[in-house]
Protein backbone atom coordinates (compact mmCIF):
# COMPACT_ATOMS: atom_id res chain seq x y z
CA UNK A 1 0.00 0.00 0.00
CA UNK A 2 1.33 3.34 -0.96
CA UNK A 3 1.81 5.85 1.78
CA UNK A 4 -0.60 8.80 1.59
CA UNK A 5 0.69 11.80 -0.36
CA UNK A 6 1.86 14.62 1.77
CA UNK A 7 -0.15 17.76 1.39
CA UNK A 8 2.79 19.98 0.63
CA UNK A 9 4.35 17.94 -2.17
CA UNK A 10 2.42 19.97 -4.73
CA UNK A 11 2.94 23.21 -2.85
CA UNK A 12 5.83 24.58 -4.95
CA UNK A 13 3.88 23.93 -8.16
CA UNK A 14 0.84 25.74 -6.77
CA UNK A 15 3.00 28.61 -5.64
CA UNK A 16 4.50 28.96 -9.12
CA UNK A 17 1.06 28.97 -10.67
CA UNK A 18 -0.11 31.56 -8.22
CA UNK A 19 2.84 33.80 -8.96
CA UNK A 20 2.15 33.54 -12.71
CA UNK A 21 -1.46 34.50 -12.16
CA UNK A 22 -0.51 37.48 -10.06
CA UNK A 23 1.97 38.60 -12.70
CA UNK A 24 -0.59 38.27 -15.51
CA UNK A 25 -3.14 40.19 -13.50
CA UNK A 26 -0.63 42.92 -12.78
CA UNK A 27 0.27 43.17 -16.46
CA UNK A 28 -3.40 43.40 -17.38
CA UNK A 29 -3.86 46.23 -14.92
CA UNK A 30 -0.83 48.01 -16.31
CA UNK A 31 -2.03 47.55 -19.90
CA UNK A 32 -4.90 49.87 -19.12
CA UNK A 33 -2.42 52.70 -18.69
CA UNK A 34 -1.48 53.07 -22.39
CA UNK A 35 -3.14 56.31 -23.53
CA UNK A 36 -5.37 56.26 -26.58
CA UNK A 37 -5.39 59.55 -28.49
CA UNK A 38 -8.32 60.66 -30.60
CA UNK A 39 -7.64 64.38 -31.10
CA UNK A 40 -4.93 66.37 -32.84
CA UNK A 41 -4.36 68.46 -29.69
CA UNK A 42 -3.68 65.36 -27.68
CA UNK A 43 -1.12 64.18 -30.20
CA UNK A 44 0.50 67.64 -30.28
CA UNK A 45 0.62 67.71 -26.49
CA UNK A 46 2.23 64.32 -26.15
CA UNK A 47 4.80 65.16 -28.83
CA UNK A 48 5.67 68.43 -27.10
CA UNK A 49 5.72 67.00 -23.60
CA UNK A 50 7.91 63.97 -24.28
CA UNK A 51 11.41 65.24 -23.66
CA UNK A 52 14.58 63.14 -24.04
CA UNK A 53 12.53 60.00 -24.54
CA UNK A 54 11.42 58.11 -27.63
CA UNK A 55 7.73 58.61 -28.41
CA UNK A 56 6.10 55.58 -30.01
CA UNK A 57 2.79 56.36 -31.74
CA UNK A 58 0.79 53.42 -32.96
CA UNK A 59 -1.74 54.29 -35.66
CA UNK A 60 -4.39 51.63 -35.98
CA UNK A 61 -7.83 50.51 -35.02
CA UNK A 62 -8.95 48.14 -32.32
CA UNK A 63 -11.05 46.09 -34.75
CA UNK A 64 -7.98 44.95 -36.71
CA UNK A 65 -6.40 41.66 -35.65
CA UNK A 66 -2.83 42.78 -36.38
CA UNK A 67 -3.42 45.95 -34.40
CA UNK A 68 -4.59 43.94 -31.43
CA UNK A 69 -1.52 41.73 -31.56
CA UNK A 70 0.72 44.77 -31.79
CA UNK A 71 -1.15 46.46 -28.95
CA UNK A 72 -0.63 43.42 -26.77
CA UNK A 73 3.12 43.58 -27.31
CA UNK A 74 3.19 47.34 -26.76
CA UNK A 75 1.23 47.08 -23.54
CA UNK A 76 3.44 44.37 -22.16
CA UNK A 77 6.67 46.14 -23.05
CA UNK A 78 5.63 49.68 -22.13
CA UNK A 79 6.85 49.27 -18.57
CA UNK A 80 10.18 47.81 -19.64
CA UNK A 81 10.97 50.75 -21.92
CA UNK A 82 9.37 53.38 -19.67
CA UNK A 83 12.72 54.86 -18.74
CA UNK A 84 13.58 55.83 -22.29
CA UNK A 85 10.33 55.59 -24.23
CA UNK A 86 6.68 56.55 -24.04
CA UNK A 87 4.05 54.55 -25.92
CA UNK A 88 0.71 55.91 -27.07
CA UNK A 89 -2.05 54.56 -29.29
CA UNK A 90 -3.79 56.69 -31.92
CA UNK A 91 -7.21 55.74 -33.22
CA UNK A 92 -7.24 56.33 -36.99
CA UNK A 93 -11.04 56.27 -37.19
CA UNK A 94 -11.24 59.62 -35.41
CA UNK A 95 -11.83 62.60 -37.74
CA UNK A 96 -9.43 64.94 -36.04
CA UNK A 97 -6.57 62.53 -36.50
CA UNK A 98 -6.95 62.31 -40.30
CA UNK A 99 -4.59 65.25 -40.80
CA UNK A 100 -1.82 63.22 -39.20
CA UNK A 101 -2.80 60.10 -41.13
CA UNK A 102 -2.37 62.07 -44.36
CA UNK A 103 0.74 63.91 -43.20
CA UNK A 104 2.51 60.72 -42.17
CA UNK A 105 1.38 58.93 -45.39
CA UNK A 106 -0.19 56.12 -43.40
CA UNK A 107 -1.96 53.73 -45.73
CA UNK A 108 -1.37 50.39 -44.07
CA UNK A 109 -2.42 49.53 -40.52
CA UNK A 110 -1.02 49.20 -37.97
CA UNK A 111 1.77 51.73 -38.48
CA UNK A 112 4.14 52.89 -35.77
CA UNK A 113 5.87 56.25 -35.95
CA UNK A 114 8.81 57.20 -33.74
CA UNK A 115 9.70 60.66 -32.41
CA UNK A 116 12.49 61.99 -30.23
CA UNK A 117 12.31 65.54 -28.86
CA UNK A 118 9.61 66.38 -31.40
CA UNK A 119 11.87 65.21 -34.22
CA UNK A 120 10.80 62.33 -36.42
CA UNK A 121 13.12 59.33 -36.28
CA UNK A 122 13.48 57.18 -39.39
CA UNK A 123 14.17 53.46 -39.29
CA UNK A 124 15.84 51.61 -42.14
CA UNK A 125 14.50 48.09 -41.91
CA UNK A 126 15.09 47.13 -45.51
CA UNK A 127 11.55 48.00 -46.55
CA UNK A 128 10.42 50.71 -48.92
CA UNK A 129 9.20 52.99 -46.14
CA UNK A 130 11.79 54.27 -43.69
CA UNK A 131 9.48 56.72 -42.02
CA UNK A 132 7.52 54.19 -39.96
CA UNK A 133 7.22 50.58 -38.89
CA UNK A 134 4.39 48.83 -40.70
CA UNK A 135 2.85 45.73 -39.19
CA UNK A 136 3.30 43.94 -35.91
CA UNK A 137 6.35 42.78 -33.99
CA UNK A 138 7.21 39.11 -33.70
CA UNK A 139 7.78 39.33 -29.97
CA UNK A 140 8.30 41.79 -27.10
CA UNK A 141 12.07 41.71 -27.35
CA UNK A 142 11.95 42.82 -31.00
CA UNK A 143 10.03 45.93 -30.07
CA UNK A 144 12.38 46.68 -27.17
CA UNK A 145 15.41 46.24 -29.46
CA UNK A 146 13.98 48.60 -32.06
CA UNK A 147 13.18 51.27 -29.48
CA UNK A 148 16.60 50.89 -27.91
CA UNK A 149 18.35 51.33 -31.25
CA UNK A 150 16.27 54.43 -31.97
CA UNK A 151 17.09 55.87 -28.55
CA UNK A 152 20.80 55.19 -28.91
CA UNK A 153 20.88 56.73 -32.36
CA UNK A 154 18.93 59.77 -31.20
CA UNK A 155 21.28 60.32 -28.27
CA UNK A 156 24.16 60.31 -30.72
CA UNK A 157 22.46 62.79 -33.01
CA UNK A 158 21.38 60.38 -35.74
CA UNK A 159 17.95 60.87 -37.28
CA UNK A 160 17.91 57.58 -39.15
CA UNK A 161 18.94 54.25 -37.65
CA UNK A 162 19.30 50.70 -38.93
CA UNK A 163 16.87 48.10 -37.72
CA UNK A 164 18.59 45.43 -35.60
CA UNK A 165 16.11 42.70 -36.48
CA UNK A 166 16.77 39.95 -39.01
CA UNK A 167 14.82 40.23 -42.28
CA UNK A 168 12.61 37.25 -41.53
CA UNK A 169 11.12 39.10 -38.55
CA UNK A 170 10.35 42.27 -40.48
CA UNK A 171 6.84 42.38 -41.99
CA UNK A 172 6.89 42.69 -45.78
CA UNK A 173 4.63 45.03 -47.67
CA UNK A 174 4.44 46.80 -51.00
CA UNK A 175 4.21 50.54 -51.33
CA UNK A 176 2.13 51.60 -54.27
CA UNK A 177 2.44 55.12 -55.62
CA UNK A 178 -0.97 56.07 -56.94
CA UNK A 179 -1.80 52.45 -57.72
CA UNK A 180 1.22 51.91 -59.92
Amino acid sequence: MKPPKKKFESFPFCLGLLKRQIRDHREKMESVLLPTLTKKEEIDRIINNTIDKVLVLRFGRTSDENCLLLDDILEKSARDVSKFATVALVDVDSDQVQVYVNYFDITLFPSTVFFFNAHHMKLDSGTADHTKWVGKFHEKQDFIDVVEVIFRGAMKGKMIVHCPLPPERIPKFQLLYKDV
Binding site: K40, E41, D44, R45, I47, N48, N49, I51, D52, V99, N102, Y103, F104, D105, F115, F116, N117, A118, H119, H120, M121, K122, D124, S125, G126, T127, A128, D129, H130, T131, A154, M155, K156, G157, K158, M159, P167, Q174, L175, Y177, K178, V180
Partner: protein, 400 residues
Amino acid sequence: MEEKNTKAKKKPSKKNEFDFCKVCRFHHDHGPRHKYFPRHKELLSAFLNRFRSKIADVRFFLKNPSFLRPQEESQNRVWCVFCDEDIVDLGSSFACSKAINHFASSEHHKNIKQFLWKHGPSMDCVDDFKISDADVAKWVRKCTALGNKDASSCTGQLSRTSSDIHNKFEFERTEKETHFFNPNNLNDVKPLLYNTNEYQISHSGVTHYGSHLNVDATQLPPGVIGMTSNSSSHSGDSSGNVHSGAPPPWLTPNDGNIFNQSEITRVQEKIPVKTTSKLNPHRVGAAWAERRKIEMEMEKRGEAVNSNTDADWLPNFGRVWQSGTRKDSRKEFEKEKRKLVVTAESISMESEEQKLVKTESISVESEEPVQIQPYVSKRALCHLPFVILIFSQRAMKSGE
Protein backbone atom coordinates in the same frame (compact mmCIF):
# COMPACT_ATOMS: atom_id res chain seq x y z
CA MET B 1 69.48 17.95 -32.23
CA GLU B 2 70.91 21.40 -32.68
CA GLU B 3 67.48 22.89 -32.29
CA LYS B 4 67.03 21.08 -29.03
CA ASN B 5 70.36 22.40 -27.81
CA THR B 6 69.43 25.97 -28.71
CA LYS B 7 66.13 25.56 -26.99
CA ALA B 8 67.79 24.19 -23.91
CA LYS B 9 70.29 27.03 -23.96
CA LYS B 10 67.46 29.55 -23.87
CA LYS B 11 66.84 30.03 -20.23
CA PRO B 12 63.30 30.42 -19.28
CA SER B 13 62.50 34.09 -18.55
CA LYS B 14 62.58 34.81 -14.87
CA LYS B 15 59.27 35.77 -13.50
CA ASN B 16 59.94 38.74 -11.26
CA GLU B 17 57.86 39.38 -8.23
CA PHE B 18 55.38 42.20 -8.30
CA ASP B 19 56.84 45.44 -7.06
CA PHE B 20 55.26 48.86 -6.54
CA CYS B 21 56.79 51.74 -8.50
CA LYS B 22 56.49 54.95 -6.47
CA VAL B 23 56.93 57.06 -9.56
CA CYS B 24 54.42 55.37 -11.84
CA ARG B 25 52.16 54.49 -8.90
CA PHE B 26 51.38 50.98 -10.02
CA HIS B 27 52.50 47.42 -9.47
CA HIS B 28 54.61 45.69 -12.09
CA ASP B 29 56.63 42.58 -12.59
CA HIS B 30 59.14 44.07 -15.00
CA GLY B 31 61.92 43.91 -12.48
CA PRO B 32 64.89 46.27 -12.61
CA ARG B 33 64.40 47.00 -16.32
CA HIS B 34 61.25 48.97 -15.46
CA LYS B 35 63.31 52.10 -14.85
CA TYR B 36 64.36 52.21 -18.51
CA PHE B 37 60.81 52.24 -19.85
CA PRO B 38 60.00 55.57 -21.60
CA ARG B 39 56.80 56.11 -19.64
CA HIS B 40 58.63 55.63 -16.38
CA LYS B 41 61.32 58.08 -17.49
CA GLU B 42 58.70 60.73 -18.30
CA LEU B 43 56.94 60.29 -15.00
CA LEU B 44 60.22 60.33 -13.14
CA SER B 45 61.24 63.65 -14.67
CA ALA B 46 57.87 65.15 -13.72
CA PHE B 47 58.15 63.65 -10.24
CA LEU B 48 61.61 65.07 -9.66
CA ASN B 49 60.66 68.47 -11.08
CA ARG B 50 57.86 68.73 -8.58
CA PHE B 51 60.21 68.01 -5.71
CA ARG B 52 62.78 70.43 -7.12
CA SER B 53 60.25 73.26 -6.86
CA LYS B 54 59.65 72.40 -3.20
CA ILE B 55 63.35 72.40 -2.50
CA ALA B 56 63.63 75.74 -4.29
CA ASP B 57 61.17 77.20 -1.77
CA VAL B 58 63.26 75.83 1.08
CA ARG B 59 66.43 77.24 -0.49
CA PHE B 60 64.76 80.65 -0.56
CA PHE B 61 64.45 80.53 3.23
CA LEU B 62 68.01 79.21 3.39
CA LYS B 63 69.25 82.41 1.75
CA ASN B 64 66.76 84.69 3.52
CA PRO B 65 66.08 83.38 7.00
CA SER B 66 62.93 84.73 8.60
CA PHE B 67 61.10 84.20 11.82
CA LEU B 68 58.40 81.61 11.89
CA ARG B 69 55.19 82.76 13.49
CA PRO B 70 53.58 80.16 15.71
CA GLN B 71 50.29 80.15 13.84
CA GLU B 72 52.11 79.32 10.62
CA GLU B 73 53.98 76.34 12.04
CA SER B 74 51.48 73.79 10.89
CA GLN B 75 51.42 75.29 7.41
CA ASN B 76 55.18 75.02 7.07
CA ARG B 77 55.49 71.36 6.17
CA VAL B 78 57.26 69.46 3.44
CA TRP B 79 56.92 65.84 2.40
CA CYS B 80 60.27 64.31 1.56
CA VAL B 81 59.67 61.80 -1.25
CA PHE B 82 63.02 60.10 -0.77
CA CYS B 83 62.68 59.49 2.95
CA ASP B 84 58.87 59.11 2.93
CA GLU B 85 58.33 61.40 5.86
CA ASP B 86 56.57 64.63 6.63
CA ILE B 87 58.78 67.45 7.93
CA VAL B 88 56.84 69.88 10.08
CA ASP B 89 58.39 72.95 11.66
CA LEU B 90 57.11 72.48 15.16
CA GLY B 91 58.75 74.36 17.95
CA SER B 92 61.21 76.08 15.65
CA SER B 93 61.63 79.80 15.55
CA PHE B 94 62.90 80.15 11.97
CA ALA B 95 61.08 79.21 8.81
CA CYS B 96 61.95 75.82 7.27
CA SER B 97 64.63 75.16 9.88
CA LYS B 98 63.73 71.50 10.27
CA ALA B 99 63.44 71.07 6.53
CA ILE B 100 66.89 72.61 6.00
CA ASN B 101 68.39 70.36 8.66
CA HIS B 102 66.72 67.33 7.13
CA PHE B 103 67.91 68.05 3.61
CA ALA B 104 71.44 68.51 4.91
CA SER B 105 71.42 65.26 6.89
CA SER B 106 73.40 62.21 5.83
CA GLU B 107 70.38 59.94 6.04
CA HIS B 108 68.59 62.06 3.42
CA HIS B 109 71.64 61.82 1.16
CA LYS B 110 71.66 58.07 1.53
CA ASN B 111 67.94 57.87 0.67
CA ILE B 112 68.40 60.03 -2.44
CA LYS B 113 71.09 57.71 -3.75
CA GLN B 114 68.98 54.67 -3.01
CA PHE B 115 65.96 56.21 -4.79
CA LEU B 116 67.91 57.17 -7.87
CA TRP B 117 69.58 53.79 -8.01
CA LYS B 118 66.18 52.08 -7.91
CA HIS B 119 64.13 54.43 -10.09
CA GLY B 120 66.38 56.73 -11.98
CA PRO B 121 68.72 55.83 -14.78
CA SER B 122 71.31 58.47 -13.81
CA MET B 123 72.81 59.68 -10.54
CA ASP B 124 73.69 63.16 -11.82
CA CYS B 125 70.99 65.04 -10.04
CA VAL B 126 71.81 64.03 -6.47
CA ASP B 127 73.08 67.51 -5.63
CA ASP B 128 69.79 69.12 -6.68
CA PHE B 129 67.97 67.51 -3.79
CA LYS B 130 70.38 68.04 -0.93
CA ILE B 131 71.69 71.07 0.92
CA SER B 132 75.39 71.31 1.55
CA ASP B 133 76.84 71.78 5.01
CA ALA B 134 78.43 75.05 4.00
CA ASP B 135 75.05 76.53 3.11
CA VAL B 136 73.63 75.33 6.38
CA ALA B 137 76.48 76.94 8.29
CA LYS B 138 75.85 80.26 6.52
CA TRP B 139 72.18 79.99 7.31
CA VAL B 140 72.88 79.36 11.01
CA ARG B 141 75.09 82.43 11.16
CA LYS B 142 72.41 84.54 9.54
CA CYS B 143 69.81 83.21 11.94
CA THR B 144 71.87 84.02 15.01
CA ALA B 145 72.54 87.51 13.71
CA LEU B 146 68.86 87.97 13.04
CA GLY B 147 67.94 86.55 16.37
CA ASN B 148 70.20 88.92 18.31
CA LYS B 149 68.89 91.90 16.39
CA ASP B 150 65.24 91.15 16.94
CA ALA B 151 65.42 89.56 20.34
CA SER B 152 64.35 92.65 22.19
CA SER B 153 61.66 93.61 19.71
CA CYS B 154 60.25 90.10 19.73
CA THR B 155 59.91 89.90 23.47
CA GLY B 156 58.33 93.35 23.53
CA GLN B 157 55.75 92.23 21.02
CA LEU B 158 54.94 89.14 22.97
CA SER B 159 54.50 91.03 26.20
CA ARG B 160 52.22 93.48 24.48
CA THR B 161 50.04 90.71 23.12
CA SER B 162 50.11 88.97 26.43
CA SER B 163 48.96 92.10 28.22
CA ASP B 164 46.23 92.58 25.62
CA ILE B 165 45.08 89.03 26.21
CA HIS B 166 45.23 89.52 29.91
CA ASN B 167 43.09 92.66 29.78
CA LYS B 168 40.71 91.34 27.15
CA PHE B 169 39.78 88.11 28.78
CA GLU B 170 39.50 89.48 32.23
CA PHE B 171 36.61 91.61 31.03
CA GLU B 172 35.00 89.10 28.67
CA ARG B 173 35.14 85.93 30.68
CA THR B 174 31.78 85.03 32.16
CA GLU B 175 31.12 83.57 35.58
CA LYS B 176 30.18 80.28 33.98
CA GLU B 177 33.87 79.57 33.27
CA THR B 178 35.03 77.79 36.40
CA HIS B 179 37.95 75.96 34.93
CA PHE B 180 41.16 77.14 36.62
CA PHE B 181 44.32 76.78 34.63
CA ASN B 182 47.11 75.58 36.90
CA PRO B 183 50.61 76.23 35.59
CA ASN B 184 51.69 72.99 37.18
CA ASN B 185 49.55 71.21 34.66
CA LEU B 186 51.69 72.49 31.82
CA ASN B 187 53.74 69.35 31.87
CA ASP B 188 50.63 67.21 31.59
CA VAL B 189 49.29 69.11 28.59
CA LYS B 190 50.58 67.64 25.35
CA PRO B 191 51.74 70.07 22.65
CA LEU B 192 49.18 70.63 19.95
CA LEU B 193 50.11 69.69 16.41
CA TYR B 194 47.65 72.09 14.76
CA ASN B 195 46.34 75.53 15.43
CA THR B 196 43.55 75.50 17.92
CA ASN B 197 40.36 77.35 17.17
CA GLU B 198 38.81 79.94 19.40
CA TYR B 199 36.53 77.42 21.07
CA GLN B 200 39.44 75.34 22.25
CA ILE B 201 41.28 78.39 23.49
CA SER B 202 38.29 79.65 25.48
CA HIS B 203 38.04 76.37 27.30
CA SER B 204 41.72 76.03 28.00
CA GLY B 205 41.67 78.70 30.66
CA VAL B 206 43.83 81.20 28.88
CA THR B 207 42.75 84.12 31.01
CA HIS B 208 44.41 82.79 34.09
CA TYR B 209 47.46 82.00 32.07
CA GLY B 210 47.94 85.66 31.31
CA SER B 211 49.70 86.17 34.62
CA HIS B 212 52.30 83.58 33.82
CA LEU B 213 53.54 85.07 30.62
CA ASN B 214 56.92 86.12 31.96
CA VAL B 215 58.14 82.74 30.77
CA ASP B 216 60.20 82.60 27.58
CA ALA B 217 58.05 82.32 24.53
CA THR B 218 59.74 79.21 23.19
CA GLN B 219 58.82 77.18 26.28
CA LEU B 220 55.11 77.83 25.96
CA PRO B 221 52.92 75.22 24.31
CA PRO B 222 52.20 76.23 20.75
CA GLY B 223 48.46 76.10 20.97
CA VAL B 224 48.29 78.82 23.54
CA ILE B 225 50.63 81.15 21.71
CA GLY B 226 48.30 80.81 18.75
CA MET B 227 46.40 83.77 20.18
CA THR B 228 47.20 87.01 18.41
CA SER B 229 45.71 90.44 18.32
CA ASN B 230 43.64 89.44 15.31
CA SER B 231 41.16 87.67 17.49
CA SER B 232 40.62 90.74 19.58
CA SER B 233 39.87 92.86 16.54
CA HIS B 234 37.02 90.61 15.38
CA SER B 235 35.05 90.58 18.57
CA GLY B 236 35.64 94.15 19.61
CA ASP B 237 32.93 95.65 17.42
CA SER B 238 29.91 93.40 18.05
CA SER B 239 27.94 93.16 21.22
CA GLY B 240 28.93 89.53 21.84
CA ASN B 241 31.04 86.77 20.43
CA VAL B 242 31.47 83.01 20.46
CA HIS B 243 33.03 83.12 23.93
CA SER B 244 30.19 85.07 25.40
CA GLY B 245 27.61 82.86 23.74
CA ALA B 246 26.04 85.53 21.52
CA PRO B 247 24.18 84.38 18.37
CA PRO B 248 26.10 84.57 15.12
CA PRO B 249 25.53 87.72 13.03
CA TRP B 250 23.88 85.90 10.14
CA LEU B 251 21.06 84.72 12.38
CA THR B 252 20.32 88.04 14.04
CA PRO B 253 17.69 90.28 12.34
CA ASN B 254 19.71 93.00 10.69
CA ASP B 255 18.60 95.60 8.14
CA GLY B 256 21.93 95.61 6.41
CA ASN B 257 22.08 91.86 6.14
CA ILE B 258 21.46 90.72 2.60
CA PHE B 259 20.89 87.14 3.57
CA ASN B 260 17.30 87.47 4.75
CA GLN B 261 15.22 84.53 3.69
CA SER B 262 12.66 86.63 1.87
CA GLU B 263 15.38 88.34 -0.08
CA ILE B 264 16.98 85.03 -0.86
CA THR B 265 13.78 83.78 -2.45
CA ARG B 266 13.44 87.03 -4.39
CA VAL B 267 16.98 86.72 -5.66
CA GLN B 268 16.44 83.09 -6.58
CA GLU B 269 13.33 83.93 -8.54
CA LYS B 270 15.13 86.55 -10.55
CA ILE B 271 17.88 84.16 -11.49
CA PRO B 272 16.82 82.37 -14.68
CA VAL B 273 16.64 78.66 -14.09
CA LYS B 274 19.22 76.97 -16.25
CA THR B 275 18.61 73.29 -16.65
CA THR B 276 21.99 71.66 -16.67
CA SER B 277 21.87 68.08 -17.79
CA LYS B 278 24.57 65.57 -18.41
CA LEU B 279 22.94 64.42 -21.64
CA ASN B 280 24.78 64.65 -24.91
CA PRO B 281 24.44 68.22 -26.21
CA HIS B 282 24.56 66.88 -29.78
CA ARG B 283 21.58 64.56 -29.36
CA VAL B 284 18.59 64.94 -31.64
CA GLY B 285 16.49 67.95 -30.68
CA ALA B 286 18.78 69.03 -27.82
CA ALA B 287 18.11 72.75 -28.27
CA TRP B 288 14.39 72.18 -28.52
CA ALA B 289 14.46 70.01 -25.38
CA GLU B 290 16.27 72.66 -23.32
CA ARG B 291 13.84 75.36 -24.47
CA ARG B 292 10.89 73.15 -23.73
CA LYS B 293 12.16 72.33 -20.22
CA ILE B 294 12.47 76.03 -19.43
CA GLU B 295 8.97 76.65 -20.79
CA MET B 296 7.56 73.83 -18.69
CA GLU B 297 9.21 75.18 -15.54
CA MET B 298 7.77 78.62 -16.26
CA GLU B 299 4.35 77.06 -16.75
CA LYS B 300 4.72 75.28 -13.41
CA ARG B 301 5.52 78.55 -11.71
CA GLY B 302 2.40 79.99 -13.29
CA GLU B 303 4.01 82.42 -15.68
CA ALA B 304 2.44 82.95 -19.09
CA VAL B 305 4.27 81.21 -21.90
CA ASN B 306 3.92 81.92 -25.60
CA SER B 307 2.76 78.55 -26.81
CA ASN B 308 3.77 77.68 -30.34
CA THR B 309 1.34 74.83 -30.62
CA ASP B 310 -1.61 76.28 -32.42
CA ALA B 311 -4.22 74.23 -34.26
CA ASP B 312 -2.17 74.09 -37.45
CA TRP B 313 1.10 73.05 -35.86
CA LEU B 314 2.77 70.00 -37.34
CA PRO B 315 6.09 68.40 -36.44
CA ASN B 316 8.84 68.14 -39.02
CA PHE B 317 8.29 64.85 -40.76
CA GLY B 318 10.19 63.30 -43.63
CA ARG B 319 7.39 62.12 -45.86
CA VAL B 320 7.56 59.05 -48.01
CA TRP B 321 7.00 60.46 -51.49
CA GLN B 322 8.69 63.83 -51.06
CA SER B 323 12.33 64.62 -51.57
CA GLY B 324 14.21 67.45 -49.92
CA THR B 325 14.34 68.55 -46.31
CA ARG B 326 11.70 67.84 -43.71
CA LYS B 327 10.67 71.48 -43.63
CA ASP B 328 10.06 71.33 -47.37
CA SER B 329 7.88 68.26 -47.00
CA ARG B 330 5.87 70.02 -44.29
CA LYS B 331 5.41 73.09 -46.48
CA GLU B 332 4.32 70.90 -49.33
CA PHE B 333 1.77 69.19 -47.14
CA GLU B 334 0.45 72.55 -45.97
CA LYS B 335 0.10 73.61 -49.60
CA GLU B 336 -1.79 70.43 -50.39
CA LYS B 337 -4.02 71.00 -47.42
CA ARG B 338 -4.85 74.54 -48.50
CA LYS B 339 -5.65 73.39 -51.99
CA LEU B 340 -7.82 70.64 -50.62
CA VAL B 341 -9.74 73.19 -48.60
CA VAL B 342 -10.18 75.43 -51.64
CA THR B 343 -11.35 72.64 -53.81
CA ALA B 344 -13.64 71.33 -51.10
CA GLU B 345 -15.28 74.73 -50.94
CA SER B 346 -15.68 74.81 -54.69
CA ILE B 347 -17.23 71.36 -54.62
CA SER B 348 -19.79 72.35 -52.03
CA MET B 349 -20.94 75.14 -54.32
CA GLU B 350 -20.99 73.06 -57.53
CA SER B 351 -22.92 69.86 -58.31
CA GLU B 352 -21.97 66.26 -57.33
CA GLU B 353 -20.47 65.45 -60.74
CA GLN B 354 -17.58 67.91 -60.06
CA LYS B 355 -16.28 65.77 -57.15
CA LEU B 356 -13.77 64.24 -59.58
CA VAL B 357 -11.96 67.60 -59.70
CA LYS B 358 -10.70 66.91 -56.22
CA THR B 359 -8.81 63.87 -57.31
CA GLU B 360 -7.63 65.56 -60.51
CA SER B 361 -6.35 68.62 -58.63
CA ILE B 362 -4.05 66.42 -56.62
CA SER B 363 -2.70 64.66 -59.68
CA VAL B 364 -2.14 68.00 -61.47
CA GLU B 365 0.74 68.81 -59.14
CA SER B 366 2.72 65.83 -60.24
CA GLU B 367 2.35 66.34 -63.97
CA GLU B 368 6.04 66.05 -64.48
CA PRO B 369 6.93 62.69 -65.78
CA VAL B 370 8.21 60.71 -62.83
CA GLN B 371 10.58 57.94 -63.52
CA ILE B 372 9.33 55.16 -61.35
CA GLN B 373 12.05 52.87 -60.27
CA PRO B 374 11.61 49.97 -57.95
CA TYR B 375 13.17 50.53 -54.57
CA VAL B 376 15.91 48.07 -53.65
CA SER B 377 17.54 48.41 -50.28
CA LYS B 378 20.92 47.11 -49.19
CA ARG B 379 19.26 44.31 -47.26
CA ALA B 380 17.22 43.26 -50.28
CA LEU B 381 20.40 42.92 -52.30
CA CYS B 382 21.38 40.17 -49.95
CA HIS B 383 18.13 38.43 -50.70
CA LEU B 384 18.19 38.69 -54.50
CA PRO B 385 16.11 35.62 -55.22
CA PHE B 386 13.28 37.08 -53.18
CA VAL B 387 13.56 40.35 -55.08
CA ILE B 388 13.56 38.62 -58.43
CA LEU B 389 10.42 36.79 -57.40
CA ILE B 390 8.66 40.07 -56.65
CA PHE B 391 9.66 41.56 -59.99
CA SER B 392 8.48 38.50 -61.84
CA GLN B 393 5.15 38.70 -60.07
CA ARG B 394 4.79 42.35 -61.00
CA ALA B 395 5.68 41.62 -64.58
CA MET B 396 3.05 38.91 -64.68
CA LYS B 397 0.46 41.26 -63.26
CA SER B 398 1.26 43.98 -65.76
CA GLY B 399 1.18 41.42 -68.56
CA GLU B 400 -2.28 40.36 -67.52
